[in-house]
């Protein structure tokens, strides 16, 4: 187990360097960002040259990358064009997005799995059919439509919530945005749980458990659910990273100042340091989440061993 974790952690190193290098190159391909700083006019040459020097843009690309990576290891992620250090942007953005992700994941787990279990245990009944239809609708409607619709209905028409999230972004305010963000994944979790449950209901060990005369509750929770949740856990685990990075649309609709907002701003202004910094952290989150998922397998299924 320990060696397995160590090996996985070591594998992260090349992934980390590869990802940062790729993003660094991609942002640089977009061209010189200084030209966008002076509005609808050319920056005067002297100031532009000095700004380029200040942001290290006058150096060859490989040197920019090595300087940047060197700084990253000392905890300096550079600064945005308005002079704010990127670490400061991260400190304000990540807590918000993490809260949003937590809300979304909770929705996926609670509602997604519950609906999946209900319909999986009652295959073919009206409950099952309506859940299937409902999830199909949710999957086929794009997030921005659900988001704008909920915002308009709940925020403007019925005035149950505020249409946008305040800069503090407390958990209470993030419930609707979290639901919107989770909606598609939630539908997948429901369907995944349902299928997995249906499959395992026909398995030998379950028949044995029923034959032993175990109470139904114990059969469902201990035997059926535990084994059926493996694919669901994989899905939710990988979804953590996707939710954090993919919240751009939801964050824009509800005006949440999280990671998606900072990334969007960074891309528009072509600020390499913001974009690379944020994406690097997202890559790390993704890798760690994947590792945790793999370790969770062993907990859920004792047959899986890591050496």
């Amino acid at each position: 187990m320990g060696r397995y974790v160590a090996r996985r952690l070591l594998q992260m190193i090349p992934v980390f360097f590869g990802a940062t290098l790729l993003i660094f190159l991609m942002v640089n391909v977009m061209g010189d960002p200084i030209a966008g700083l002076c509005g609808e006019r050319a920056c005067d040459t002297a100031t532009a040259a000095q700004l380029r020097r200040q942001f290290g843009l006058d150096q060859p690309l490989w040197q920019q990358y090595t300087t940047y990576m060197g700084n990253v290891f000392t905890g300096d992620f550079g600064s945005a064009f308005n002079g704010q250090p990127v670490t400061q942007l991260m400190a304000s953005a990540f807590p918000v997005t993490i809260r949003l992700t937590v809300v979304a994941i909770l929705f996926e787990i609670v509602i997604g799995i519950a609906l999946g279990v209900v319909s999986g245990l009652r295959r073919g009944r009206p409950v099952d059919t309506s859940v299937l239809v409902l999830t199909l609708v949710v999957i086929s409607v794009p997030t921005f439509v659900t988001g704008l619709l909920l915002q308009l209905l709940l925020g403007v028409q019925w005035a149950w919530i505020k249409p946008s999230v305040s800069p503090e972004a407390s958990f209470g305010e993030l419930i609707v945005p979290g639901l919107v963000l989770a909606s598609v994944s939630l539908a997948y979790v429901t369907r995944l749980t349902r299928t997995s449950l249906a499959e395992n209901q026909r398995s030998d060990y379950l028949r044995t458990a029923v034959a032993k005369g175990l109470p139904r509750r114990r059969i469902v929770v201990r035997h059926l659910l535990r084994n059926s949740l493996i694919p669901v856990v994989t899905f939710i685990g990988t979804d953590i990273g996707a939710l954090m990075g993919g919240a751009i649309v939801t964050e824009r609709i509800f005006n949440i100042h999280g990671v998606g907002y900072q990334l969007y701003q960074g891309i528009l202004r072509q600020n390499t340091q913001t974009v690379v910094g944020f994406v690097t952290v997202l890559v790390l989150v993704f890798l760690v989440a994947n590792l945790l998922v793999d370790l969770l397998y062993a907990v859920l299924d004792p047959r899986i061993r890591y050496a």
């Binding site: 700083l37 064009f81 704010q84 209900v118 305040s166 419930i175 824009r252």
Partner: protein, 540 residues
């Protein structure tokens, strides 16, 4: 029926959560006293007066600073604010007297030195100020801000403090309307703490305007409070303003509908068709000093021929401005008939109809002119624009349609989108354009000079197409040296005639500023810079 019971429970939980959501939050803007909340965008550059060149940062500076002059929010006329007198005999040497009794909100008096230090800071190359060129008229600018190499002086030799409240300005050349440019934010005075505690100042700027900054969370919110000790005549009529950063002004608009935000400036184009039913009379749409044009790459020899001149005029006549402004912009743009803006007023140099037939839609004449000029250089016209902001795609496509219809060929004109504004500016700066490109000009100060010189004078800062015409330059020089205002304006209009005769840029439309607000607010107006006049707004 356990399943059904459970789904019911889930639905119940969702309702409880929603109710919780409704109770949560509540901290934002609209509550508390006569304070209003207003939409904002994250300023791109640090909030220094000589470093702020876009509207969002300008909004804040307009609240916390007052300069020597201020542009009347209604007429746009430059009027003395902190200036008691600005005297000159030769349009080159100016003596400026600052009014007595003005203070910064930290108690420091505003003196001649507050101005001179601020201007020297703004001009100095070492401070990386993006508005530095505003000080370019002042003598000694080439020493503190050389085009190449290091600066050889720290201060402008043309600025001298002659008393606690007087200083003199010497310009490098005659510039009669120089005093009227002093209302621009870059010329604001700065307190000592700006220089001594610079980073603390940037975290919470201190100025001399009707508002003070109470707190500033970069990238998300700024709360401004009325400054009770403000000595000026334009005291704030509300208790404060909370500026909330929105990534998408559609959300800000929705927030205004729900009463979660009091004021949204810049209504998104997609909402323009509903805005009157949504907000009724609480929608304003007033002219702003913004002109949209199509510029041409004169560095490309194909566009710099006498035939191409006819082609450009032909293209201008092929654009149905009336129809595009009505259907796409729903009246928030007005077809342009000159190269300035209605906000200047006719006595400020705006001359409707100066463009004449060349700006009137006439497909037959357009086709004839393009043919006479030898056709479109290269056979194809691609209009380059940035696709990330504004609704540029819609109108560029419409302009192309109009041109294609007029010329009777579906494939003459296409839009050429560029992903980001930065990349767009970059391509322009590197002179890589092969056809016309979008050019928007938002005035810095309401003077006809500002609509002509920076855009068409040889080598000027925003002359992106590198147009050069000796006759135009000569007329502008003469106008700047002319001390009589009316004669100067007539000379500028003659220069504008040169722009027309060569069709140096195709004027498209004058842009309006738009805003919507909730019924809590009264006396909401936009100034000619399309910024809300916050100090006049009454709440409640």
């Amino acid at each position: 029926m356990r399943g059904v019971a459970r789904t019911r429970w889930v639905a119940g939980a969702a309702v409880v959560l929603l109710a919780l959501a409704a109770c949560g939050g509540g901290a934002s803007g609209s509550s508390g006293g006569r304070v209003l909340s207003s939409s904002w965008g994250d300023p791109q550059n640090p909030l220094e007066p000589s470093n702020t060149n876009e509207v969002q940062g300008g909004k804040v500076l307009d609240m916390i600073f007052r300069g020597l002059k201020r542009y009347d929010p209604k007429t746009g006329k430059a009027e003395n604010m902190l200036a008691e007198r600005i005297d000159t005999t030769d349009s080159r040497h100016f003596t400026i007297t600052v009014k007595n009794g003005w203070k910064f909100s930290n108690g420091e008096p505003v003196t001649a030195r507050s101005f001179v230090d601020a201007w020297n800071y703004g001009a100095s190359l070492r401070n990386n100020q993006k508005n530095a060129y505003f000080f370019g008229y002042i003598q000694g600018y080439d020493k503190v801000h050389p085009e190449t190499g290091t600066q050889t002086a720290d201060t402008l030799s043309g600025l001298k403090v002659t008393g606690p409240r007087t200083f003199t300005v010497t310009l490098g050349q005659k510039f009669s309307t120089f005093p009227d440019t002093l209302g621009y934010a870059a010329f604001a005075p700065l307190p000592r703490t700006f220089f001594t505690h610079h980073s603390a100042w940037l975290d919470k700027p201190v100025g001399n305007g009707p508002y003070t900054i109470e707190s500033y969370t970069k990238g998300s919110q700024m709360t401004l409070r009325r400054w009770a000790g403000y000595p000026g005549p334009d005291k704030a009529r509300n208790d404060g303003v909370t500026l909330v950063v929105y990534t998408d002004n559609n959300t800000a608009y929705t927030d205004v509908l729900a009463g979660n935000l009091d004021l949204v400036d810049d209504i998104p184009a997609s909402q323009l068709k509903n805005v009157r039913t949504d907000l009724g009379g609480r929608y304003i749409n007033t002219p702003a000093g913004i002109l949209q044009t199509l510029a041409f790459p004169f560095y490309d020899p194909k566009w710099n021929t006498s035939g191409a001149k006819k082609v450009r005029t032909g293209l201008s006549m092929a654009i149905n401005r009336e129809q595009i402004t009505r259907t796409i912009f729903r009246g928030t743009r007005t077809p342009a008939t000159d190269w300035t803006s209605p906000v200047l007023g006719t006595d400020g140099g705006y001359k409707p109809g100066l463009c004449g037939r060349a700006c009137a839609y006439d497909p037959a004449a357009a086709r004839k002119l393009v043919q006479e000029g030898g056709g479109i250089p290269g056979g194809r016209l691609s209009i380059t624009y940035n696709a990330d902001t504004g609704s540029h795609k819609q109108w560029v496509d419409a302009v192309c349609n109009s041109i294609n219809n007029a010329l009777g060929n579906d494939r003459v004109c296409v839009g050429n989108p560029v992903g980001t504004f930065a990349d767009f500016r970059n391509q322009i700066g590197r002179h890589k354009m092969t056809g016309p490109f979008r050019a928007g000009w938002q005035m810095d100060y309401p003077l006809i000079q500002n609509f002509l010189q920076p855009l068409y004078y040889t080598g000027a800062s925003s002359n992106d197409g590198k147009w050069s015409n000796r006759q135009f330059d000569h007329l502008v020089d003469r106008a700047n040296a002319e001390s009589d205002k009316n004669r100067a304006i007539r000379l500028f209009q003659q220069a504008e005639g040169v722009v027309r005769d060569n069709m140096a840029a195709i004027p498209l439309w004058y842009q309006n500023g738009s805003a919507g607000y909730t019924d809590r607010l009264h006396d909401v107006a936009l100034n000619p810079f399309s910024v809300p006049v916050y100090d006049e707004i009454r709440v409640g």
